[in-house]
């Protein structure tokens, strides 16, 4: 019995209920609840690192009849990213929302979002995954509404409708799987699923639904307005974590559950879409006139990079080379999570000081807000993939997988994408470090600037120097049938 696994879900949920009951204390409850969730995740991670994958059969029923929670290397890494990012963002949000009349609702929904993320990364049951997806989508949409402007409501409504469409497709896929294999437990399914019409249709429906949620080109159109119009702390978690949750599920489905079903052609199609996303998203980020819009388009591009790995993973034989490529994928996702949340928080600081986020008018930022300007530079390093960031190592590995598999087509995509990323980052830094009066001198509050710079440091230094830990953790699998 490993009741430890329920705590990353139970702690934020309990805090959310308390925050709803005591609205006047909601900021304290919110920050404290986020910190305790971090503690719970750390305890779970320690156990996984020490003794391998763990499982908890809820209610004492055997998985299948009941629901199992599982934690393995991949889920622990995602959990750690989501809890560290949300801790930093919570500290920032405690200042950002300190004067908002909606702050009680913000903190409740914030904690519900963390509940949903943790539940999703821990779930070992397909239908339960659908429920966590619904909770994640709904709390994300409501958080995105908190901006209160007409554009943010319109963007949130689009986000809601498309998210529901995605969940519906996922649910139909789950129903087909249950009809075909008689169980929803993912460990059992990893062994049972074999190639056939049921598996093909279910995989396409589920992947299609998740592609909407992870905003892969051409299903990305809802993302830039929704992410750029939300309040800064919300944009940070939407871009860094919520999009990654859908990607995590795609990885689980493609690599563990449906590994017998996935064909090279299907992976190639997703890879091509990813390639277009890299080019188009980077180009749009270069054209963007607003800082947050630029960050949102950059997310579209970075999601594209992650999908480039799929055809490579499908081509590589199982074994060390594939694990290394998978580790690089996860490392890139983690680096982007930290870097992009840092970027959005820095954008939020600038926006609150300057009253706008028009890139061309950001002159003087470096003098007025040196820490924030430094954050933008560090996050930029990670977004481009310069050493010593985690994404440098990940892209290096991506290139070497391209050489091993001989899929040369991805080479120009990676090269042009990286150049474009460099262009949009340096364009921004050029304006931010130029002299000017765009951002007036102001008192800076440590609680606003420091979380962002810490996140950026994790992306550029910690993930760069301790990347080997990621490669060691990823192969720890709870789905023996899929990997073996």
């Amino acid at each position: 019995m490993n009741n430890l696994l329920i705590w990353p879900v139970a702690v934020p949920l309990l805090s959310a209920l308390l925050a709803l009951l005591w609205p006047r204390r909601s900021t304290w409850i919110g920050v404290l609840g986020t910190a305790l969730s971090l503690l719970a995740v750390v305890l779970v991670s320690r156990q996984v690192i020490e003794s391998g994958a763990i499982e908890l059969a809820l209610g004492g029923w055997s998985p299948g009849l009941g629901i199992a929670l599982r934690a393995d290397g991949l889920s622990v890494l995602m959990l750690l990213m989501s809890t560290l990012v949300s801790m930093a963002v919570a500290v920032y949000a405690s200042v950002y929302f300190s004067r908002s009349e909606r702050r009680s609702e913000f903190w409740v929904l914030w904690l519900l979002l963390i509940t949903a993320l943790h539940a999703l990364f821990l779930s070992g049951d397909l239908f339960n995954l659908y429920v966590t997806l619904e909770l994640l989508g709904l709390s994300a949409v409501v958080l995105a509404c908190l901006g209160g402007s007409r554009e943010s409501l319109q963007a949130a409504l689009n986000y809601l409708v498309l998210g529901l469409l995605g969940s519906m497709a996922f649910l139909i896929g789950v129903a087909l799987i249950y009809a075909g294999y008689g169980t929803l437990d993912m460990a059992a399914l990893a062994v049972a699923i074999e190639s056939g019409p049921t598996a093909w249709l279910a995989l396409s429906l589920m992947t299609g639904g998740l592609l909407i949620k992870s905003a892969l080109f051409p299903l990305h159109f809802w993302l830039p307005p929704a992410h750029s119009n939300a309040p800064a702390p919300v944009s940070a978690v939407l871009s860094a974590l919520v999009v990654k949750a859908a990607l995590y599920l795609i990885l689980r489905l493609w690599l563990a559950l449906f590994d017998e079903v996935v064909t090279q052609t299907a992976a190639l199609i997703l890879g091509l879409l990813g390639g277009i996303a890299v080019l188009w998203g980077s180009w749009a980020a270069l054209q963007a006139e607003r800082l947050k819009l630029m960050a949102a388009y950059s997310t579209v591009a970075q999601v594209g990079y992650l999908f480039l790995f799929l055809p490579l993973l499908a081509a590589l034989p199982e074994g060390t080379t594939r694990d290394v490529a998978l580790g690089a994928l996860v490392l890139l996702a983690l680096t982007h999570g930290f870097a992009k949340s840092a970027f959005f928080l820095a954008a939020g600081v600038i926006m609150q000081r300057a009253g706008h986020d028009r890139i061309a008018e950001l002159g003087g930022t470096a003098r007025a807000l040196p820490v924030t300007a430094f954050t933008l530079a560090l996050a930029g390093v990670a977004l481009i993939g310069l050493p010593p960031s985690g994404s440098f190592l990940a892209k290096w590995q991506l290139l070497s997988s391209v050489f091993i598999t001989g899929q040369w087509i991805w080479l120009p995509v990676i090269a042009i994408g990286t150049l474009l990323a460099g262009a949009y980052t340096f364009r921004l830094l050029g304006y931010a470090f130029a002299p000017g009066e765009g951002v007036g001198p102001s008192l800076s509050v440590g609680r606003e600037e420091i979380p962002a710079v810490l996140l950026a440091l994790v992306a550029t230094l910690v993930l760069g120097f301790w990347a080997s830990a990621v490669w060691e953790l990823v192969p720890i699998s709870a789905y023996a049938g899929g990997e073996g």
């Binding site: 004067r99 702050r103 019409p197």
Partner: protein
């Protein structure tokens, strides 16, 4: 052809026809009314398929409450002419074609898995374990025991949804006070709905019924009250409302955690107690679901919903 098949074919045909009519209606109000009719017919279909639990849920939530929410959204949504925005003809054809292809594919696969090569599913196991679940209705056993964690998270989804309603705006204006005839009807209808909700809740342990159906029926009582001019629709305000919204999830979660502290697993009820524990959880869940649905029908935050910064609001007023 078997003669008993005829009513079923008729039902299926009408169901597809109603769905098509609801989707293709230019007038939004007509579309909503057709959607309600579709829900009621679907409830009958579920009953014909020997799934009375689903039939009850579909009638109460799918047709009843969703219909009421859609109608009230239409009332407040804008002016007199509410027409659906139409996609271009080409897009429409493409969407129709896509949906048709997907429907055929899904239908084909379902036929394959259910008739051509059926596999053993979990129903047998669920029934076999029924003695140890504390209830004798297998649906309730799945919802509140085997897969209680799903239901817990679904209650959280309802909570997140109603918070969304609260965040987006203030509640809508109420209705005029009802005339004497409707007023008299309300005096009969509301107690009847409350008793029905209590019955559905209680009977859920061994027959079709349960927290979601009971909550929806209780919410219907609130909606009737609001239609008759009682603006609060039977909901308390302020702190008590928050407690009501939290009750279902809170009781569920605390019970689950208490069990993991007392030596079992999370949500692992002690066998002797499971029947009573499930009933308590269902009572709390019914209250929360009903409160959430009625609040959604009222359409936004209530006057007593605390706004956090009175100072900020005063500034707004004075400037």
């Amino acid at each position: 052809m078997n003669l008993t098949l005829l009513p079923d074919l008729l039902l299926a045909g009408m169901l597809i026809g109603l769905a098509w009519a609801a989707l293709s209606s230019d007038d939004l109000r007509r579309g909503v009314v057709l959607f309600i009719a579709f829900g009621l017919l679907l409830a009958i279909v579920w009953a014909r398929l020997l799934a009375p639990d689903l039939a009850l849920a579909e009638a109460a939530i799918g047709a009843g409450l969703s219909g009421a929410l859609l109608l009230v959204a239409l009332r407040d949504g804008g002016g007199a002419d509410q027409h659906a925005t139409k996609p271009s003809t080409l897009n429409r054809w493409l969407i129709d074609l896509f949906v048709l292809v997907m429907t055929c594919l899904i239908g084909w696969v379902l036929w394959l898995t259910i008739y051509a090569e059926p596999v053993e599913r979990l129903a047998q196991l669920a029934n076999a374990m029924l003695d140890r679940s504390g209830v004798s209705n297998p649906v309730t056993a799945v919802l509140l025991n085997y897969r209680a964690y799903d239901t817990l998270l679904e209650l959280v989804v309802v909570l997140a949804a109603v918070l969304g309603v609260v965040v987006v705006g203030r509640e809508r204006r109420g209705y005029r006070e009802a005339g004497p005839v409707f007023h008299g009807l309300v005096h009969w209808l509301v107690p009847l709905l409350i008793v029905t909700a209590g019955y559905l809740l209680w009977v859920g342990a061994h027959a079709p019924g349960g927290a979601f159906q009971a909550g929806a029926t209780l919410a219907a009582a609130g909606i009737v009250l609001r239609l008759a001019g009682y603006d609060a629709a039977g909901l308390p305000d302020g702190r008590l409302l928050r407690w009501l919204l939290v009750a279902g999830t809170g009781v569920f979660l605390l019970f689950g955690l208490a069990m993991s502290f007392s030596g079992g697993g999370f949500l692992q009820y002690p066998e002797a107690w499971s029947g009573s524990l499930i009933l308590i959880i269902e009572v709390a869940a019914t209250a929360s679901i009903a409160a959430a649905l009625v609040l959604a029908y009222r359409g936004g935050r209530t006057d007593g919903w605390p706004l956090m910064d009175e100072k900020a609001e005063n500034r707004e007023v004075s400037s």
